[in-house]
Symmetry: C2
Subunit: 138 residues, 2 copies
Amino acid sequence: MKKEFRSGCPIASTLDVVGDKWSLLIIRDMLLKHKKTFKEISNSDERIVPSILSARLKLLESYKLIVKTKIPENKKENIYLLTEKGIRLAPIIIELSLWGNDNMQEFNKIDSIPDLNLEKSYIIQSVEDNYNTMLRNF
Amino acid sequence: MKKEFRSGCPIASTLDVVGDKWSLLIIRDMLLKHKKTFKEISNSDERIVPSILSARLKLLESYKLIVKTKIPENKKENIYLLTEKGIRLAPIIIELSLWGNDNMQEFNKIDSIPDLNLEKSYIIQSVEDNYNTMLRNF
DNA sequence: ATTTTTGCTTTCAAATTGATAGCAAAAATA
DNA sequence: TATTTTTGCTATCAATTTGAAAGCAAAAAT
């Protein structure tokens, strides 16, 4: 993967890795919906095409945000799981969700998100905990 | 110019507005460095080209994240200021910065960010307050 | 009066994204 | 066992977006 970083700015560096059109939606599906396979991720509302999904999964793997494994029961299917680095994107994902909910209603019909009344830090903690619990039971 | 939204997901909708390669870096310079003119924003470390900056400022204006004004002393120069919607991107910007600082060191030399020891919610509040104070004294 | 600056726009090339088809290996079904 | 379907991709090529350079009119500075 030959992608260059534009600068030493931590914001720009984060965006150089996950700031494309699809990466954070892939992470969203993995982190919030616990999706694990190519097919599951393909079937999002936004319909990412296979060539892009394939390229993005490789990039995310190269930056250690996800790992690719298999289960013994299925020799064909790849299982994609978030690493700790990937799980820690939860605060960014949640902030994107809250901002969209608060500020985009006038431009787009926004799906309601559950537990909006709860405190931000609690929501983030729950998302991370739930993913880790799923991992432990996998 | 009106870009379509991919879905009703609040995360996807936010990304449809600021999820391109440059918007959040423009917002970063406005919000953290209090940049206000085309020229100031042009001179970032990442060197955005005029055609892209022009297009992005128009898009951000159309979604009411920024407003374009002038000062009486200068008939030529446009002044770009963040609206409340734009200022409220502070949590996203700060989370991107923290994640990059914590997770990208092994791939890129990351500039150190000041006040990293302070609490997250305090950093966000300070950024928003400082911008609003600048606006009031403008 | 001339030069420089500003905030763009235009042009065109390069890179990225997207739609469709295809394909080999594995799994499911007959 | 043979055939069909599914899975996880890759290849191809068109469409869209991004990027580099130059240009330009109005305003400001000299």
